[in-house]
Subunit: 122 residues, 2 copies
DNA sequence: CAACAACCTAGAGTGCACTCCAGATCAACC
DNA sequence: GGTTGATCTGGAGTGCACTCTAGGTTGTTG
């Protein structure tokens, strides 16, 4: 097998996404056109690795499967969908900024509560 | 009704948490010793408001209901649980820091992808 | 005091994102 | 060539955090 083709197990290893989840993402349209060996077994490319990393980045910051499907389908539809994809990324960017602000406020509240405790923690 | 006692609807209004969720939290042991009117209807105190704000802060940053129940029960058990509560807050604080770092990395990836798009967004 | 809103409890239902299962096929090694 | 491990498909199951329902009680307002 060439270095640029990964089996499902290798792909799971590289991306940290389980085989079941990779199949689920494919079924849901988040990963498209995955290559197959003659046997019918999946063969993931380097681009697939990069794409799954993007998916996980967006997913881990709160983008839903529905939204990821939409974004993925736009990518498959060609260059004319770029403005819409840009819009989606900008909107998600704003969400992530809000999440950071929310978490910074949470840190302040936690620190405030911690300031009431003496230093005798284990 | 005095200013320091809130009906369920008023409590939902103040905290942004629905009445159903307030009841759910109480059932799960996240909110304890909620006062009742003679009718049996709940009456929330100012402390309850503050506590629910803490719950939501922790919940919104990824603490599970199980963990929140544990933390709440410790609070009800008295001062000797302070070290454990401090430990929980410190651990959660570390989680929130990781979430912020993860999201800052996400912003970089998003910005990197955005840099490939021209400025013609709607 | 009638009507309508707010509240009560116990328990069932929902939506999301996975995660697992059964039964079959394919690949690799002794 | 037989066993063992990886992969395949379609579909069922899981866990979490709510969210809603049914059937009844309480409170308020004209």
């Amino acid at each position: 097998m060439t270095t640029t083709e990964l089996t499902p197990a290798q792909m799971a290893d590289r991306t940290g996404v389980t085989i079941d989840t990779l199949r689920y993402y494919e079924r849901e349209g988040l990963i498209q056109n995955v290559a197959r060996a003659e046997s019918g077994h999946r063969r993931y490319s380097h681009n697939d690795v990069l794409w799954v990393e993007v998916l996980r980045c967006l997913r881990d910051t709160g983008m839903t499967i529905d939204q990821l499907r939409h974004y993925s389908e736009l990518g498959a539809q060609g260059d004319h969908t770029e403005p819409e994809r840009k819009r989606i990324l900008l909107e998600h960017r704003a969400l992530v900024e809000r999440q950071i602000a929310e978490r910074q406020a949470a840190l302040e509240l936690i620190d405030h509560k911690l300031s009431y405790y003496t230093g005798e923690s284990s």
